[in-house]
């Protein structure tokens, strides 16, 4: 069996092995890469598709890092679904979930590398495309003292795939390729797949691949979601006020060899208002604050030399379209909307210039990204298209939904601005606030809404947001040729080699952009993060590389004055 680090380098560089290995490389490529070509990096092993694997992003040596102390973080999103991977599912949660949990596969560093030292699977092998064999790391214990074993991997994955046992787990479809799990008894676990799935390793580097003690689930029942027993360098100490305040403490029995945990504890305080977070940083109440997107407050802090600053690149903000519903079932109306979208104005007005104009649903420069822009801002052309669609003397009415009760002010502002743009070329936009719960029920939706496509694996992004089977479509069964073609390409993407994947992603990009299908990309955002000068290791690539497009990763930080 090949050690995982060598495995990446060996398999990703060779097409034949990739093919026979069930396309692990493509899976890692999504995990890996996005955003960085690797040719100028001497440590990278690049593939024709542009994905690369490096050994960068490893934390500082333990003996050079001050140990102890506490870091407080002001954050913007409550852990309202608890802290167990079986319920805590949003991308923005992964930064702090990674403090308390490890994953089978470590997606790490600068977004391109996986530091095998942090992974719970030491070695991975594909004896055939539909069989994955993983060697389990020895000596790992859950926070409740139970051993992490091959049996616990089997029990964990089977638990997640059972809708009766894990009814609140949203990503069961991501594990659908797993047909059965065997434990041969030699410290390995074997996943038998129904078909090769290049996205599986990426999936196992996120929530679905973060094991938790089932003994703790049995002991605590539903209370386990706020006191889960995982394997990470920190353990949950407190969770209260609906997830607005929670605290992690050092795991004294952490198995890792990297020197983690550096700190005695990490506190999270949820402060929804950006100015409140800024005030908390300025008063010394917290050491690190994060923003969900660039705002006037983050622009102000960026000018202040007292704060360390990092920008976490995340997926684009989009105008999502319900093309299953009139009038957006007419491509000319969708094209008119695309031409009416002044992306530069959205960037400057809503995001205070922090980010870039988006041409793709994927992060700028990443795998599958393209600057192909079929519909530049052109209000005159938009009016012509509306007239051609039969709206010369009348206005197509579009219901525009802002999700969240109460909604985010930034979303309100963005929708108000879009309304003005779209109304000015002849639409009649009616804005309504709707609950988050409707976000995954496309049939019940209005015509447009705003949202982001923050999934870093390109095939998974197209699957989740554009395919029939994706959770964003909620099983909508469309017979439209474009939809069928997207579904087919997504399926092909899961089986493809790096070379093939490039063409598939180009085709997916072309369909979704030419047909204005699903969403109009507007602005590729950043998530600004600020820290005071007591926070060390703030500027590592690992800190700012989001695993699934969510947020910064505070696992690496330590306290300078500890």
């Amino acid at each position: 069996m090949t050690p995982i680090g060598n495995y990446w380098e060996r398999t990703l560089g060779r097409r034949t092995v990739l093919r026979s290995a069930g396309l692990v490389g493509a899976g890692l490529a999504g995990a890996a890469l996005i955003g960085c070509g690797g040719d100028d990096d001497p440590t990278a092993t690049s593939t024709p598709g542009g994905a690369g694997v490096t050994a960068t992003g490893t934390p500082a040596p333990a003996d050079s890092v001050p140990q102890g102390g506490k870091v407080s973080i002001g954050y913007y999103a409550e852990a309202d679904k608890g802290l167990s991977p079986r319920t805590s599912d949003a991308a923005s949660y992964m930064g702090y979930m990674e403090l308390i949990g490890d994953t089978y596969v470590y997606l790490g560093g600068d977004g391109r590398s996986g530091d095998a030292r942090h992974a719970l699977w030491e070695e991975i092998e594909y004896p055939e495309p539909t069989t994955l064999v993983a060697k389990i790391r020895e000596g790992v214990k859950f926070h409740d003292g139970t051993d992490f074993t091959a049996e616990s991997v089997k029990a964990h994955l089977e638990f997640l795939m059972d809708p009766e046992k894990a009814p609140d787990f949203r990503y069961a479809t991501s594990l659908a390729a797993i047909e059965s799990i065997d434990v041969p008894g030699d410290g390995t676990v074997r996943l038998n797949l129904s078909a090769p799935d290049s996205t599986l390793l990426f999936t196992l580097g996120t929530n679905p691949g973060m094991p938790f003690s089932l003994a703790q689930v049995e002991a605590l029942g539903n209370d386990e979601i706020v006191k889960p027993a995982l394997t990470g360098p920190y353990m949950v100490d407190t969770w209260r006020d609906g997830g607005a305040v929670f605290n992690f403490v050092r795991n004294p029995n952490y198995w890792g060899t990297s020197g983690y945990p550096y700190l005695d504890s990490i506190d999270y305080q949820i402060l929804r208002q950006g100015e409140a977070r800024a005030a908390a940083l300025e008063s010394g109440q917290v050491d690190i604050i994060g923003f969900e997107e660039g705002t006037a407050t983050s622009a102000r802090l960026q000018q202040d030399s007292r704060w360390q600053y990092q920008a976490v690149p995340v997926g684009p903000a989009n105008t999502f379209l319900n093309h299953f519903k009139a009038p957006l079932d007419d491509i000319r109306v969708r094209q008119a909307l695309a031409h009416a979208s002044d992306r530069e104005r959205v960037l400057q007005t809503i995001y205070v210039g922090q980010g870039s104009v988006a041409t793709s649903h994927l992060p700028t420069g990443g795998q599958g990204w393209s600057d192909y822009e079929p519909y530049p801002y052109n209000p005159d052309e938009a009016r012509k298209l509306l007239a051609a669609a039969g709206y010369e003397d009348s206005k197509p009415v579009l219901s525009a939904e802002i999700t969240g009760l109460p909604p985010k002010q930034e979303d309100v502002n963005q929708m108000s601005l879009l309304k003005e743009m779209y109304d000015s070329i002849g639409f009649d936009i009616e804005i309504a606030n709707v609950s988050d719960a409707t976000a995954f029920r496309r049939e019940n939706r209005g015509n447009i809404r705003i949202g982001s496509t923050s999934v870093r694996h390109p095939v998974l992004m197209y699957e989740i947001f554009f395919s029939t089977s994706g959770s964003f479509n909620a099983g909508h069964d469309s017979r439209e040729p474009e939809q069928l073609r997207i579904d087919d390409l997504v399926s092909q993407g899961k089986l493809a080699t790096e070379d093939e994947l490039e063409g598939i992603l180009d085709e997916l990009h072309r369909i979704t952009r030419d047909e204005v299908y699903g969403a109009i990309p507007l602005v590729t955002r950043i998530k600004p993060v600020f820290a005071n000068d007591k926070v060390g290791n703030f500027d590592t690539p690992e800190f700012i590389a989001p695993m699934i497009g969510g947020t910064f990763r505070p696992r690496t930080v330590y306290r300078m004055d500890a």
Binding site: Q273, E275, T295, A296, R300, I402, N413, S416, I431, A432
Partner: protein, 299 residues
């Protein structure tokens, strides 16, 4: 001292009243209270500003006319907001929402609460108990919980917000109306009406209700000020009137992110909310002083 003061005031009133019947009327007596006059002036200015907003506003309220967060200037007297809309124009249009919500919620509260209170007083027994327990239950909820829950269920908008705030106001009106009606039902004129065969419902609507109206007017006026604050709070939270309609609450919410950079963005709507609520409270206090027989001598 107090006695002297009251007497001198009474003499003063009597003296003026002798000159003009208007000054002895409720409106006249209200107009002789300086704080009430201040309140009426502010309410009048807001009402005129709101009604004439299409004429007075220099720009359309939802149009992005210039750069974001621009300082006050001759082009934009109150500056611009976080997406470049003229603050003065939005303030004027926002007055419409505030006044509409306050008046409508008071009407809804009085109609529902008044009817419930009259029914409870007239029917008594189990009906009285049920109505009052429902009112108690609604009153036991913290301020904005009920409106928030209702808006979450049926959606936002000016009329929805007014309806939910009116329903929230109705239990206190119902309790007040019930108490007043019970007192009236003991009066001789009710007995007389019964004795000549006037139907009970007619007695309640034509005779009892009008005699209960004074405290209800006071409660409604104070309810209006509460509704303005509640609407601003709901809009501030993003749960009130739907964007991009201008309200003072969502103007405050918009300005929050800019509070350190461009504080004027929240000053205008903040002062407007403050002054209008204060004015309605002054007016409500004055009405209570004038209409409550126990306080009448103090005016």
């Amino acid at each position: 001292m107090t006695s002297t003061s009251v007497n001198s005031t009474t003499l003063h009133v009597t003296g003026q009243g002798a000159r003009s019947p208007f000054w002895r009327s409720p409106l006249g007596r209200v107009l002789r209270i300086k704080l009430a006059v201040f309140g009426l002036v502010v309410i009048g200015v807001v009402a005129v500003g709101g009604l004439l907003a299409p004429v007075l506003a220099p720009y359309p309220p939802n149009a992005t006319v210039t750069y974001v967060a621009e300082s006050p200037s001759w082009s934009h007297l109150l500056g611009t907001d976080s997406i470049g809309r003229d603050q003065l124009s939005r303030l004027l249009y926002g007055a419409r929402v505030s006044l509409t919500v306050s008046v409508m919620s008071a009407v809804v509260g009085v109609v529902i609460g008044g009817a419930a209170g009259l029914a409870a007083a007239r029917l008594g027994g189990i009906v009285d108990s049920v109505i009052m327990r429902i009112a108690d239950g609604m009153l036991s909820l913290p301020g904005l919980v009920l409106p928030l829950a209702m808006i979450a269920a049926i959606g936002g908008g000016v009329f929805t917000v007014a309806l939910t705030l009116g329903i929230s106001l109705s239990p206190s009106i119902a309790r007040l109306m019930r108490g007043q009606a019970l007192a009236q039902l003991e009066r001789d004129y009710v007995l007389a009406a019964h004795s000549i065969g006037v139907p009970g419902a007619r007695i309640m609507l034509r005779h009892v209700a009008p005699n209960c109206v004074a405290p209800i007017i006071v409660a409604a006026s104070l309810g209006m000020s509460s509704a303005i604050g509640a609407e601003a709070a709901l809009s501030f939270l993003g749960a009130g009137v739907t964007a991009p309609t201008a309200t003072w609450g969502n103007m405050l919410s918009q300005g929050l992110e800019y509070i350190r950079l461009t504080p004027w963005m929240i000053v205008a709507p903040g002062v407007a909310v403050f002054l209008l609520i204060l004015s309605l409270n002054f007016l409500g206090d004055a009405l209570r002083d004038v209409l409550d027989p126990r306080l009448r001598g103090r005016t």
